[in-house]
Protein backbone atom coordinates (compact mmCIF):
# COMPACT_ATOMS: atom_id res chain seq x y z
CA UNK A 1 0.00 0.00 0.00
CA UNK A 2 1.05 3.50 -0.75
CA UNK A 3 1.09 4.63 2.87
CA UNK A 4 3.41 1.83 3.97
CA UNK A 5 5.80 2.45 1.09
CA UNK A 6 6.01 6.14 1.96
CA UNK A 7 6.54 5.30 5.62
CA UNK A 8 9.26 2.83 4.81
CA UNK A 9 11.04 5.29 2.56
CA UNK A 10 10.86 7.98 5.20
CA UNK A 11 12.27 5.54 7.73
CA UNK A 12 15.06 4.71 5.31
CA UNK A 13 15.90 8.38 4.90
CA UNK A 14 15.96 8.93 8.64
CA UNK A 15 18.05 5.85 9.25
CA UNK A 16 20.61 6.86 6.66
CA UNK A 17 20.81 10.44 7.92
CA UNK A 18 21.07 9.27 11.53
CA UNK A 19 23.91 6.98 10.53
CA UNK A 20 25.75 9.74 8.70
CA UNK A 21 25.38 12.15 11.61
CA UNK A 22 26.24 9.57 14.22
CA UNK A 23 29.41 8.58 12.40
CA UNK A 24 30.44 12.22 12.16
CA UNK A 25 30.40 12.04 8.39
CA UNK A 26 27.90 14.88 8.16
CA UNK A 27 27.25 17.67 10.59
CA UNK A 28 24.56 20.23 11.31
CA UNK A 29 25.43 22.30 8.28
CA UNK A 30 23.85 19.61 6.10
CA UNK A 31 20.59 20.16 7.99
CA UNK A 32 20.91 23.87 7.30
CA UNK A 33 21.07 23.05 3.59
CA UNK A 34 17.92 20.96 3.86
CA UNK A 35 16.13 23.79 5.60
CA UNK A 36 16.91 26.05 2.67
CA UNK A 37 14.97 23.77 0.35
CA UNK A 38 11.40 24.79 -0.41
CA UNK A 39 8.88 25.02 -3.24
CA UNK A 40 10.82 27.77 -4.95
CA UNK A 41 14.04 25.77 -4.74
CA UNK A 42 13.02 22.13 -4.39
CA UNK A 43 16.31 20.59 -5.51
CA UNK A 44 18.63 22.92 -3.70
CA UNK A 45 20.47 20.26 -1.70
CA UNK A 46 21.17 17.95 -4.62
CA UNK A 47 22.22 20.93 -6.75
CA UNK A 48 24.74 22.11 -4.19
CA UNK A 49 25.97 18.59 -3.51
CA UNK A 50 26.46 17.91 -7.21
CA UNK A 51 28.52 21.07 -7.54
CA UNK A 52 30.49 19.89 -4.52
CA UNK A 53 31.14 16.52 -6.15
CA UNK A 54 32.30 18.19 -9.33
CA UNK A 55 34.61 20.60 -7.54
CA UNK A 56 35.93 17.94 -5.17
CA UNK A 57 36.88 15.56 -7.92
CA UNK A 58 38.80 18.33 -9.64
CA UNK A 59 40.62 19.16 -6.40
CA UNK A 60 41.39 15.50 -5.69
CA UNK A 61 42.82 15.09 -9.18
CA UNK A 62 44.95 18.19 -8.71
CA UNK A 63 46.21 17.00 -5.35
CA UNK A 64 47.07 13.60 -6.69
CA UNK A 65 48.91 14.88 -9.74
CA UNK A 66 50.86 17.30 -7.52
CA UNK A 67 51.96 14.52 -5.18
CA UNK A 68 52.64 12.02 -7.94
CA UNK A 69 55.06 14.43 -9.55
CA UNK A 70 58.58 13.22 -8.69
CA UNK A 71 59.82 16.79 -8.62
CA UNK A 72 57.02 17.96 -6.39
CA UNK A 73 57.85 20.76 -4.00
CA UNK A 74 55.00 23.22 -4.23
CA UNK A 75 53.39 22.70 -0.84
CA UNK A 76 52.01 26.19 -1.13
CA UNK A 77 49.91 25.25 -4.11
CA UNK A 78 48.76 22.14 -2.32
CA UNK A 79 47.74 24.28 0.62
CA UNK A 80 45.58 26.41 -1.66
CA UNK A 81 43.76 23.35 -3.02
CA UNK A 82 43.31 22.06 0.50
CA UNK A 83 41.86 25.30 1.75
CA UNK A 84 39.34 25.23 -1.08
CA UNK A 85 38.46 21.64 -0.29
CA UNK A 86 38.14 22.42 3.40
CA UNK A 87 35.93 25.39 2.73
CA UNK A 88 33.53 23.63 0.41
CA UNK A 89 33.35 20.55 2.61
CA UNK A 90 32.57 22.70 5.60
CA UNK A 91 29.91 24.53 3.61
CA UNK A 92 27.95 21.38 2.86
CA UNK A 93 28.50 19.78 6.25
CA UNK A 94 31.00 17.12 5.17
CA UNK A 95 32.62 17.05 8.58
CA UNK A 96 34.84 14.02 8.26
CA UNK A 97 36.25 15.08 4.93
CA UNK A 98 36.97 18.49 6.36
CA UNK A 99 38.83 16.94 9.30
CA UNK A 100 40.99 14.84 6.98
CA UNK A 101 41.80 18.05 5.08
CA UNK A 102 42.96 19.62 8.33
CA UNK A 103 45.35 16.72 8.97
CA UNK A 104 46.44 16.83 5.34
CA UNK A 105 47.18 20.54 5.63
CA UNK A 106 49.26 19.94 8.77
CA UNK A 107 51.38 17.36 6.92
CA UNK A 108 51.71 19.76 4.03
CA UNK A 109 52.88 22.58 6.30
CA UNK A 110 55.61 20.26 7.58
CA UNK A 111 56.58 19.41 4.01
CA UNK A 112 55.87 15.82 4.97
CA UNK A 113 55.34 14.16 1.62
CA UNK A 114 54.68 10.68 2.94
CA UNK A 115 52.15 12.08 5.39
CA UNK A 116 50.50 13.98 2.56
CA UNK A 117 50.20 10.82 0.47
CA UNK A 118 48.60 8.96 3.35
CA UNK A 119 46.22 11.83 3.94
CA UNK A 120 45.32 11.95 0.26
CA UNK A 121 44.44 8.27 0.22
CA UNK A 122 42.29 8.69 3.26
CA UNK A 123 40.66 11.72 1.67
CA UNK A 124 39.88 9.82 -1.53
CA UNK A 125 38.39 7.00 0.50
CA UNK A 126 36.25 9.30 2.62
CA UNK A 127 35.10 11.18 -0.44
CA UNK A 128 34.06 7.96 -2.21
CA UNK A 129 32.15 6.84 0.83
CA UNK A 130 30.31 10.12 1.21
CA UNK A 131 29.46 10.27 -2.46
CA UNK A 132 27.93 6.81 -2.37
CA UNK A 133 25.91 7.58 0.73
CA UNK A 134 24.59 10.85 -0.61
CA UNK A 135 23.64 9.22 -3.89
CA UNK A 136 21.77 6.65 -1.84
CA UNK A 137 20.03 9.43 0.04
CA UNK A 138 19.00 11.22 -3.14
CA UNK A 139 17.71 7.98 -4.61
CA UNK A 140 15.48 7.37 -1.61
CA UNK A 141 14.20 10.91 -1.84
CA UNK A 142 13.45 10.48 -5.51
CA UNK A 143 11.48 7.36 -4.72
CA UNK A 144 9.56 9.24 -2.06
CA UNK A 145 8.70 11.95 -4.54
CA UNK A 146 7.49 9.34 -6.99
CA UNK A 147 5.48 7.53 -4.34
CA UNK A 148 3.82 10.78 -3.40
CA UNK A 149 2.91 11.44 -7.01
CA UNK A 150 1.37 8.04 -7.66
CA UNK A 151 -2.30 7.64 -6.86
CA UNK A 152 -3.89 4.31 -6.12
CA UNK A 153 -7.57 3.65 -6.86
CA UNK A 154 -9.67 3.51 -3.73
CA UNK A 155 -10.58 0.00 -2.62
CA UNK A 156 -13.97 -0.56 -1.00
Amino acid sequence: MLGLAADRLRADTNRLLAFLFHQGILDEQFLQLQQLEDETSPNFVSEVVNIYFHESEKLLRNLRSLLMDKEFSDYNKMGIHLNQFMGSSSSIGAKRIRNVCVAFRAASEQNNRAGCLRALELLEHEYCFLKNKLHELFQIQQQRALAAAVRYPMQN
Binding site: L36, D38, I51
Partner: protein
Protein backbone atom coordinates in the same frame (compact mmCIF):
# COMPACT_ATOMS: atom_id res chain seq x y z
CA UNK B 1 0.59 49.32 1.76
CA UNK B 2 3.60 47.08 1.10
CA UNK B 3 6.19 49.33 2.67
CA UNK B 4 9.86 48.52 2.66
CA UNK B 5 9.67 44.86 1.73
CA UNK B 6 13.09 43.28 1.95
CA UNK B 7 12.84 42.45 -1.73
CA UNK B 8 13.68 46.13 -2.22
CA UNK B 9 17.07 45.54 -0.68
CA UNK B 10 19.76 44.50 -3.08
CA UNK B 11 22.78 42.64 -1.77
CA UNK B 12 26.01 42.14 -3.67
CA UNK B 13 27.69 38.89 -2.61
CA UNK B 14 31.35 38.30 -3.37
CA UNK B 15 33.02 34.89 -3.09
CA UNK B 16 35.49 32.98 -5.23
CA UNK B 17 33.98 29.63 -4.19
CA UNK B 18 31.12 28.57 -6.42
CA UNK B 19 29.53 26.53 -3.65
CA UNK B 20 29.63 29.39 -1.20
CA UNK B 21 28.18 31.71 -3.83
CA UNK B 22 25.29 29.33 -4.34
CA UNK B 23 24.80 29.07 -0.60
CA UNK B 24 24.89 32.76 0.16
CA UNK B 25 22.59 33.43 -2.77
CA UNK B 26 20.05 30.95 -1.43
CA UNK B 27 20.35 32.33 2.09
CA UNK B 28 19.82 35.86 0.88
CA UNK B 29 16.91 34.97 -1.40
CA UNK B 30 15.28 33.01 1.42
CA UNK B 31 15.56 36.20 3.43
CA UNK B 32 13.79 37.96 0.53
CA UNK B 33 16.67 40.08 -0.63
CA UNK B 34 17.57 40.66 -4.24
CA UNK B 35 20.98 39.18 -4.91
CA UNK B 36 23.82 39.62 -7.32
CA UNK B 37 26.82 37.33 -6.93
CA UNK B 38 30.30 37.90 -8.32
CA UNK B 39 33.42 35.82 -7.96
CA UNK B 40 36.03 38.50 -7.27
CA UNK B 41 36.64 41.84 -5.62
CA UNK B 42 37.49 43.51 -8.90
CA UNK B 43 34.19 42.38 -10.43
CA UNK B 44 32.44 43.68 -7.34
CA UNK B 45 34.00 47.11 -7.80
CA UNK B 46 33.10 47.02 -11.48
CA UNK B 47 29.50 46.25 -10.61
CA UNK B 48 29.47 49.07 -8.10
CA UNK B 49 30.65 51.39 -10.84
CA UNK B 50 34.05 52.00 -9.38
CA UNK B 51 37.20 51.83 -11.40
CA UNK B 52 40.86 51.71 -10.40
CA UNK B 53 41.17 55.48 -10.28
CA UNK B 54 38.02 55.84 -8.18
CA UNK B 55 36.01 57.54 -10.88
CA UNK B 56 32.45 56.49 -11.49
CA UNK B 57 31.73 55.86 -15.12
CA UNK B 58 28.55 57.62 -16.07
CA UNK B 59 26.45 55.93 -18.69
CA UNK B 60 29.28 53.90 -20.10
CA UNK B 61 28.06 50.43 -20.87
CA UNK B 62 30.50 48.03 -19.27
CA UNK B 63 28.76 44.79 -20.00
CA UNK B 64 30.75 41.62 -19.62
CA UNK B 65 30.43 39.51 -22.76
CA UNK B 66 28.76 36.41 -21.40
CA UNK B 67 26.97 37.80 -18.42
CA UNK B 68 23.81 39.74 -19.08
CA UNK B 69 23.49 40.40 -15.38
CA UNK B 70 26.04 43.24 -15.45
CA UNK B 71 24.59 46.63 -14.75
CA UNK B 72 25.79 50.16 -14.38
CA UNK B 73 26.13 51.99 -11.12
CA UNK B 74 22.48 53.05 -11.51
CA UNK B 75 21.59 49.88 -9.67
CA UNK B 76 21.44 50.53 -5.98
CA UNK B 77 23.37 48.15 -3.78
CA UNK B 78 22.27 48.22 -0.17
CA UNK B 79 24.92 45.92 1.25
CA UNK B 80 28.05 44.11 0.20
CA UNK B 81 28.83 40.75 1.76
CA UNK B 82 32.23 39.37 0.87
CA UNK B 83 34.49 36.45 1.61
CA UNK B 84 37.76 37.40 3.22
CA UNK B 85 40.12 34.93 1.54
CA UNK B 86 40.07 35.46 -2.18
CA UNK B 87 42.87 35.34 -4.73
CA UNK B 88 43.93 38.75 -5.99
CA UNK B 89 41.84 41.29 -4.12
CA UNK B 90 40.94 40.01 -0.68
CA UNK B 91 37.70 40.88 1.07
CA UNK B 92 39.70 43.24 3.25
CA UNK B 93 41.11 45.01 0.18
CA UNK B 94 37.60 45.32 -1.21
CA UNK B 95 36.34 46.71 2.09
CA UNK B 96 39.08 49.32 2.08
CA UNK B 97 38.38 50.39 -1.47
CA UNK B 98 34.68 50.78 -0.74
CA UNK B 99 35.27 52.79 2.43
CA UNK B 100 37.84 54.98 0.69
CA UNK B 101 35.44 55.82 -2.11
CA UNK B 102 33.36 58.95 -1.59
CA UNK B 103 30.49 57.45 -3.56
CA UNK B 104 30.46 54.00 -2.01
CA UNK B 105 31.61 54.49 1.57
CA UNK B 106 28.09 54.47 2.99
CA UNK B 107 27.35 51.01 1.69
CA UNK B 108 27.49 48.60 4.63
CA UNK B 109 30.05 45.83 4.17
CA UNK B 110 30.02 42.44 5.86
CA UNK B 111 32.97 40.07 5.86
CA UNK B 112 32.74 36.26 5.88
CA UNK B 113 35.59 33.95 6.76
CA UNK B 114 36.05 30.26 7.41
CA UNK B 115 38.83 31.03 9.87
CA UNK B 116 38.40 32.48 13.32
CA UNK B 117 41.37 34.82 13.54
CA UNK B 118 40.76 37.56 16.15
CA UNK B 119 43.30 39.96 14.65
CA UNK B 120 41.67 39.55 11.25
CA UNK B 121 38.24 40.22 12.72
CA UNK B 122 39.27 43.36 14.55
CA UNK B 123 41.17 44.65 11.53
CA UNK B 124 38.04 44.36 9.40
CA UNK B 125 35.80 45.94 11.99
CA UNK B 126 38.28 48.79 12.42
CA UNK B 127 38.29 49.34 8.69
CA UNK B 128 34.52 49.80 8.79
CA UNK B 129 32.99 46.36 8.31
CA UNK B 130 29.60 46.17 10.00
CA UNK B 131 29.73 42.47 10.78
CA UNK B 132 32.08 39.56 10.56
CA UNK B 133 30.47 36.19 9.94
CA UNK B 134 32.18 32.87 10.44
CA UNK B 135 31.51 30.36 7.72
CA UNK B 136 29.42 28.43 7.15
CA UNK B 137 26.99 31.33 7.32
CA UNK B 138 23.57 30.57 8.77
CA UNK B 139 20.15 32.05 8.15
CA UNK B 140 20.21 33.42 11.67
CA UNK B 141 23.35 35.40 10.82
CA UNK B 142 21.51 37.15 8.02
CA UNK B 143 18.96 38.63 10.39
CA UNK B 144 21.76 40.93 11.50
CA UNK B 145 21.90 42.51 8.05
CA UNK B 146 18.57 44.30 7.97
CA UNK B 147 19.35 47.05 10.51
CA UNK B 148 22.43 48.09 8.55
CA UNK B 149 20.48 48.32 5.32
CA UNK B 150 17.57 50.13 6.94
CA UNK B 151 19.92 52.76 8.30
CA UNK B 152 21.16 53.54 4.83
CA UNK B 153 17.69 53.43 3.28
CA UNK B 154 16.16 55.97 5.61
CA UNK B 155 19.18 58.20 5.19
CA UNK B 156 18.66 58.13 1.41
CA UNK B 157 14.92 58.56 1.77
CA UNK B 158 15.33 61.61 3.97
CA UNK B 159 17.79 63.11 1.52
CA UNK B 160 15.36 62.57 -1.35
CA UNK B 161 12.54 64.25 0.55
CA UNK B 162 14.67 67.29 1.20
CA UNK B 163 15.77 67.42 -2.43
CA UNK B 164 12.36 66.89 -4.01
CA UNK B 165 10.39 69.12 -1.62
CA UNK B 166 7.41 66.84 -1.70
CA UNK B 167 4.02 68.48 -1.43
CA UNK B 168 2.46 65.79 0.76
CA UNK B 169 3.57 65.33 4.35
CA UNK B 170 6.27 62.73 4.78
CA UNK B 171 6.58 60.51 7.84
CA UNK B 172 9.27 61.37 10.36
CA UNK B 173 12.42 59.36 10.00
CA UNK B 174 11.95 57.46 13.26
CA UNK B 175 8.34 56.73 12.47
CA UNK B 176 9.28 55.34 9.11
CA UNK B 177 11.95 53.11 10.65
CA UNK B 178 9.50 51.82 13.24
CA UNK B 179 6.97 51.09 10.55
CA UNK B 180 9.59 49.29 8.51
CA UNK B 181 10.63 47.27 11.51
CA UNK B 182 7.12 46.16 12.38
CA UNK B 183 6.38 45.39 8.76
CA UNK B 184 9.55 43.36 8.62
CA UNK B 185 8.50 41.47 11.73
CA UNK B 186 5.16 40.72 10.15
CA UNK B 187 6.93 39.57 7.02
CA UNK B 188 8.83 37.04 9.07
CA UNK B 189 5.60 35.32 9.91
CA UNK B 190 4.20 35.44 6.43
CA UNK B 191 5.79 35.47 3.00
CA UNK B 192 4.82 38.53 1.05
CA UNK B 193 4.78 36.44 -2.05
CA UNK B 194 8.02 37.71 -3.50
CA UNK B 195 8.29 35.77 -6.69
CA UNK B 196 11.62 34.35 -7.80
CA UNK B 197 11.32 36.44 -10.98
CA UNK B 198 12.12 39.55 -8.96
CA UNK B 199 15.64 38.36 -8.57
CA UNK B 200 16.29 38.27 -12.28
CA UNK B 201 18.25 41.20 -13.64
CA UNK B 202 16.27 44.34 -14.21
CA UNK B 203 16.34 46.17 -17.51
CA UNK B 204 18.95 48.87 -17.94
CA UNK B 205 18.37 52.30 -16.55
CA UNK B 206 15.69 51.45 -14.05
CA UNK B 207 16.69 52.33 -10.52
CA UNK B 208 15.35 50.44 -7.56
CA UNK B 209 12.36 52.02 -5.92
CA UNK B 210 12.87 53.37 -2.43
Amino acid sequence: MGMAADSEFHVLAVDDSIIDRKLIERLLKTSSYQVTTVDSGSKALEFLGLHEDDRIHQNTPSVSPNNHQWRLQEVEVNLVITDYCMPGMTGYDLLKKIKESSSLKNIPVVIMSSENVPSRISRCLEEGAEEFFLKPVRLSDLSKLRPHMLKTKSKDHCKEQVDEKTAFPSPKQEGKEEQQQSNNNKRKAMEEGVSPERTRPRPNGITSVV
